[in-house]
Amino acid sequence: MSIFKNFVGPRVPANSPESVRMQYRLPTLLFSAAAVVLLVSIFLPYWQMTLHAPQYPGGLEVVVYVNELTGDVAEIDGLNHYIGMRPLGEAAQLERSASILAIGVLCLLILAAVFVHTKWVVLFTLPAVLMPFLFLADMYLWMRHFGLNLDPTAPLSSAIKPFVPPILGEGVVGQFKTVAEFRVGLYLAFLTAVLILIGLYTHRRAFKPLVEKESNQ
């Protein structure tokens, strides 16, 4: 019991005046907001690549959500077979299938962090802070893996050498100009990280004196 108590840390003194209660509520509000924002982001696109070529006046786009790819995936796959790239749907299958559950867990961890008043709070919130960076790193590795491992027997294998399209900004593949951009979902994930970091700051400012006071007793 005392280990648990040491872990979650002291409770907010019941008799503290209304004027100081706000500083205890602030991290709660920020963490809650972070969880909500992250949860919302799963319904929104994280990343998008648009391919421009003369014969596609409207462009082709692939839109990446945490759990799926949408847009002109079939057409892009059709084109990619000429250069020997595997179908996009074969990439990050595990990540996409686990993403909703994983983000749900991240949100629950953030909410759980509300009840932890010691420095262990970092353990609960850090995964969500890292989440957008992990997303980008994972996607980059998949793109690199797909781009560098082209089927050498593909029709255009001699014309299109293995390549890694930029994860942000413009690139060129054959007659296509690629434009990669972050979408609102990813920005929300970054916002989650920022909210958590501010939340951690306010958290330590509010609870560190309580923790120290308790350990001094």
Binding site: A14, G71, G78, P155
Partner: protein, 684 residues
């Protein structure tokens, strides 16, 4: 204090939870709309910034010897690269048997729609079962009739206005009618008129496309029977057929259609009443002389024999009542088709005649349905009949009758006006400024004239008077104004469908193209300039209709992979990638194939001489314009398989050997590699 605090905290979490749920719900509901912004259309260059004709333009104008009118015409018609036309014209293809789709004002031809004649580009009639079925619907007594003389296209209407859903077209030579679905611009049905060998007065639609009108022309014994010309008056008959249309399924319904027997005058062109005259149909006629020709025997030839009388008869048909009579079964059976006899038509008051001068061509109903305009052809006037006066005269009763007992209304009681326009008036269209436009065949001109009655205040010209003429080149037949036969004409453009071109284009030998000329009718008074000449070197178009382009919403690709354009639904033999296969059942080999850039699957098809081959191909593409062709040499197989389309063809493998099949529609950089081998092993 403690209690209150606890309450506060619970409430706080409830609010947070509620907000969370609401936010998630709102976002998830909107999700469908979020991916990708629609690509911006070509941004217009500097709106509102007028382009002055600079020194470069002046130099070009001088070098090409252009007049100011030429420059104005060029500016009105030039359609910059990548821009679309404002109007789409559907022109009959005459004896090409097809329909042409032309953009206005650029006058660029956009498409041929194969109808009665096989056409290789669209794979129309070269093996694809659905196309063969439609063409075979046009077989007559077992004869493959693989051409037509398409005359009068009719766009489907809702409330008397074009709705952009269907197009109907008749074949004068063989009395057939076709239905084109404007979702994919393909012909879906051909019906052969069961009682007439040839027609002319089709196709016209009633204001809600309930009925498609097919009038006859050259009288003959109904039901394709024989009778000597000596018995012309007794045995020969004219007719008007009313085809019931099922808009939902896009098909004419022969078992709910009927015809009316007419005297053996040559019913020529019809028009449906609209608004105030809705439910009535009007047809002009000629050869009320009942001339039977025979110039070789010393008789007057048709051209003079049929032109003796000063008056022929405008036919006035009470369609609503006729439909009731037909539905009640008060018909005779001709070749299995219900026909209201002339006797019944007279007894039931379904048919009246009004005299019309002289061997006229065409009757056209004004936008509000108040007047019927009949063009004299051999008389320099258009004669305008008042629907109200026709009704009043019918109500007054006490008619004379013709030889067949049909009531003939008194000419003076039913006409509203006669306007002298010039020589050879043929066809009339309307605008939104109170003008009518009539082609003048002999004058080679289009006349603008002013209407009266409710149209009088729409322009400053005196009622019922000739306003101006613009010369056209040469021998104009029909004219077509933008939505110019609907309840709300646009008054923008008019196309003159000229029969002769003579010197208008470079000489290409003794057979000359037709000349479509574009006129600007947006002005008033005498302002009606000629803008453009367009050669049409494929058959002799007759009539055309012009619809605002934004009323059409055709598919870019078929709605889903495996679509059968004939049934407009998913084909049971559609295959997706991975499902391709070849199955043998006795001597029948059935192939399920996919086509995608740039290969067919399977690429090897091995069959044996004597096999019957059933071959299904699905184009699994979803990209706009990713059409694949498919051809097999010797066996006369050529298909067009548009994105998403599933098609089937069958043949007997009579000839052994190695046949390379390939994609005939250049589809990709590896199009030449989109091929395969059909190996037919010789019989042992």
């Amino acid at each position: 204090m403690q209690l209150k605090n606890k309450f506060d905290q619970t409430a706080f979490w409830r609010v947070v939870l509620l907000l969370l749920v609401v936010v998630v719900l709102v976002i998830s509901c909107q999700r469908e709309d979020t991916p990708g912004d629609a690509p911006a259309a070509n941004a217009p260059a500097e709106e509102g910034q007028a382009v002055a004709l600079g020194a470069d333009a002046d130099a070009i104008i001088a070098a090409r010897g252009l007049t100011p009118d030429d420059v104005a015409a060029a500016l009105k018609t030039f359609t910059p690269t990548g821009k679309h036309d404002e109007y789409i014209m559907f022109a009959s293809g005459g004896h090409s048997g097809q329909v042409y789709v032309i953009g206005l004002p650029s006058m660029r031809i956009l498409k041929t729609i194969a109808v009665f004649t096989p056409e290789p580009w669209q794979g129309w009639g070269y093996g694809a079962v659905d196309t063969m079925e439609v063409l075979n619907e046009g077989d007559i007594n077992g004869h493959d009739v693989l051409w037509g003389d398409t005359h009068h296209p009719a766009l489907s209407e809702t409330g008397g206005d074009y709705d952009g859903q269907y197009l109907f077209i008749n074949d004068k030579a063989n009395a057939r009618l076709a239905v084109i679905d404007l979702r994919d611009f393909e012909t879906k049905q051909i019906v052969k008129n069961p009682i007439a060998i040839s027609d002319h007065g089709g196709s016209m639609v009633t204001p809600d496309t309930d009925w498609i009108i097919e009038g006859g022309q050259y009288a003959a014994p109904l039901g394709w029977e024989y009778s000597s010309l000596e018995n012309y008056a007794e045995d020969y008959r004219g007719m008007v057929t009313f085809w019931k249309f099922d808009r939902e399924n896009g098909r004419l319904l022969p078992d709910q259609s009927f015809a009316m027997e007419m005297p053996p005058y040559w019913q020529d062109l019809c028009d449906a009443g609209k608004l105030v005259s809705d439910g009535w149909v009007f047809c002009n006629s000629f050869n009320t002389e009942m001339a039977t020709g025979g110039v070789e025997d010393g008789n007057p030839p048709f051209e003079s024999g049929a032109s003796q009388r000063d008056m022929d008869y405008m036919h006035i048909i009470n369609l609503d009542k006729a439909a009731e009579v037909a539905a009640a079964g008060n018909t005779m059976d001709v070749n299995g088709f219900p026909v209201i006899s002339l006797e019944t038509a007279v007894a039931e008051n379904l048919l009246y005649f009004a005299p019309e001068p002289k061997s006229p061509h065409g009757v056209d109903v004004t936008p509000g349905g108040e007047y019927m305009v009949v063009s004299g052809k051999l008389d320099p006037h258009v004669t305008v009949y008042s629907f109200q006066k026709i009704q009043d005269t019918i109500a007054a009763g006490n008619f004379e009758t013709d030889d067949y007992g049909v009531p003939v209304l008194d000419f003076d009681s039913v006409i509203e006006a006669q306007v002298e326009l010039g020589l050879g008036p043929l066809h009339t269209q309307f605008d939104n400024k109170g003008y009518a436009y009539t082609s003048l065949f002999l004058d080679s001109a289009v006349a603008r004239w002013s209407l009266g009655g409710p149209y009088a205040d729409l322009n400053d010209d005196p009622d019922w008077s000739l306003v101006s003429k613009t010369s056209v080149h040469y021998n104009v037949g029909h004219i077509s104004a933008a939505e110019g036969d609907t309840v709300s004409p646009d008054g923008n453009y008019l196309v003159s469908l000229n029969k002769w071109a003579i010197d208008r284009f470079a000489n290409v030998g003794p057979l000359l193209p037709q000349n479509f000329q574009l006129l600007d009718i947006a002005g008033t008074g005498t302002n009606m300039p000629l803008l453009y000449d367009m050669p049409l070197p494929d058959g002799e178009p007759h009539y055309a209709q012009i619809i605002k382009a934004d009323k059409l919403s055709p598919w870019e690709v078929y709605p889903e992979v495996g679509w059968n354009p004939h049934t407009q639904s998913k084909d049971p033999n559609a295959v997706m990638p991975g499902e391709e296969r070849i199955e043998r059942d006795g001597n029948t080999v059935e192939i399920w194939m996919t086509a995608v850039r740039s290969h067919f699957t399977p690429e090897h098809v091995e069959i044996k001489q004597g096999d019957h081959v059933i071959w299904h191909i699905t184009n699994v593409e979803r990209a706009y314009d990713a059409t694949h062709g498919f051809s097999i040499p010797v066996y006369n197989i050529n298909l067009s398989i548009e994105p998403g389309e599933a098609t089937t063809f069958e043949f007997d493998a009579t000839d052994d050997g190695v046949f390379s099949f390939y994609c005939t529609e250049f589809c990709s950089a590896l199009h030449l590699e989109m091929t395969g081998y059909m190996l037919i092993e010789p019989k042992q």
